[in-house]
């Protein structure tokens, strides 16, 4: 389900966008969910700031307002690099300013909005979203969905995984994402750089700063200190020794 935010001051164009989105249903593509359809720039700006998962933002650009409106596209990308911005240009003269200011638009359509052009652009975006999210996680990324949004987390960005009761938290440097899943169920699918140091923790060995075998604690580069169980002590020691050997 791809969340959609629409900012389009022109009511007719807004209706055309909603119709085009509705018409995409049942075409074997990921479904969309319109979270916002507004003519207010401020409401759209706030909604974009609050959306952190992959989102489709459709931004109408009234005559002479390309700089202000393309700024919304940049905000979308700052929130999530995998998000999409589709611009609806009301004056072709603003195209150059749009291209000068915007960051990776997913598509540009011009008003009056033609159904065929809208469908083509939406199809391309939804196909890309499908390949990004609905295909299983590949060997470099983990895909997590939540609150109608999807997150693609490169394994290299994961510091460690933490199990507590039936919840599993995936810690990256800037996010901690909690999912209802067991650690053992996920452990097998993790790449080799991950190592279980304790029944409740799997660490990304790339981020080990130091291991204290007296206190049985491993400290990661971000300062987090995690326990090491006795059973895992040997494996961790072997790995640390091998790394020391490799760096000599």
């Amino acid at each position: 389900m791809l969340p959609v935010l629409i900012f389009e001051p022109d009511e007719k164009s807004r209706a055309a966008l909603l119709n085009a989105l509705a018409a995409m249903d049942g075409q074997g593509l990921p479904k969309t969910r319109v979270d916002l359809s507004t003519g207010s720039f401020e409401i759209m700006e706030r909604a974009i700031r609050e959306a952190s998962g992959i989102t489709l933002a459709i931004v109408g650009i009234p005559r002479g307002q390309s700089e202000k409106c393309t700024g919304l596209g940049s905000t979308v990308m700052q929130q999530n690099r995998n998000s999409y911005t589709l611009f609806c240009l009301h004056d072709p003269e603003d195209l150059e300013a749009l291209l000068d200011n915007c960051m990776r638009p997913a598509g540009i359509v011009t008003a009056p909005l033609a159904q065929a052009s809208l469908t083509r652009n939406l199809r391309r975006i939804l196909e890309d979203y499908q390949s990004t999210v609905e295909t299983p996680a590949d060997d470099r990324c983990m895909v997590i969905e939540g609150n109608g949004s999807a997150y693609r987390i490169p394994y290299d960005h994961i510091l460690y995984l933490e199990a507590l009761n039936k919840l599993l938290t995936i810690h990256t440097e800037r996010q901690s994402i909690t999912v209802r899943r067991s650690l053992s169920g996920l452990e097998e699918s993790l790449p080799e750089q991950f190592l279980r140091c304790h029944r409740a923790y799997v660490i990304n060995t790339q981020y080990i700063d130091r291991v204290n075998f007296t206190d049985m604690m491993v400290t990661l580069r971000n300062g987090d200190a995690l326990p090491v169980s006795r059973g895992q002590r040997g494996i961790l020691k072997q790995m640390v020794d091998a790394q020391k050997g490799a760096s000599l």
């Binding site: 952190s52 997590i144 440097e173 800037r174 996010q175 994402i177 999912v179 209802r180």
Partner: protein
């Protein structure tokens, strides 16, 4: 996999630096982290490296999500606080959402919820990571409304559940 919650992480020094840059007051229950110029500069540098701060001329632009979360926190008046050795859990009802902050000496994780009541499971599961004795308190601005100390995890869980209920009731009234 479906996400239950998503938390946003920064170091305590980064959190304090962002708060100072945004000129926001300290929310209730949060202890002040004294930062010297060197620590502040180090936090500033790591924030810039990760893109949470972007220098722009003689000003800096703070990441909108972090700025939003911190400004929401600064507007909260009521706080449910769990204090254990090395770990603090602080639950706030802010104007637009509820925020659970999990703070250690080094880090702060801010977990947003639409409603305060949705935070109970997260609060309870994190409470189980707290080594007793655990002090659970309810604060309004700087005033302590209620406090209790638990000597075991079960006791802490029961006390926190009761105080969480009162926290929600007080929120509903205000």
């Amino acid at each position: 996999m479906n996400a239950e919650t998503i938390g946003y992480n920064c170091s305590r020094a980064e959190w304090e630096t962002l708060r100072l840059l945004l000129k926001l007051p300290l929310p209730p229950g949060m202890s002040l982290l004294e930062l010297d110029a060197q620590a502040c500069q180090a936090a500033y540098d790591t924030l810039c490296e990760s893109g949470l701060l972007v220098p722009s001329g003689d000003r800096v632009v703070v990441d909108r999500l972090f700025a939003f979360l911190l400004s929401e926190l600064s507007e909260s008046r009521l706080c449910l606080r769990v204090q254990a050795d090395g770990r603090h859990l602080l639950l706030y009802r802010t104007p637009r959402l509820a925020l659970l902050c999990e703070c250690t000496l080094a880090h702060c994780c801010m977990i947003p919820f639409q409603e305060a009541r949705q935070a109970e499971d997260s609060l309870q599961s994190r409470l189980r990571q707290c080594e007793p004795p655990v002090v659970v308190s309810l604060l309004e601005e700087d005033a302590l409304l209620e406090t209790a100390e638990a000597e075991s995890q079960d006791q802490a869980s029961t006390i926190a559940a009761g105080m969480f209920q009162r926290f929600c009731d007080l929120n509903d009234k205000r």
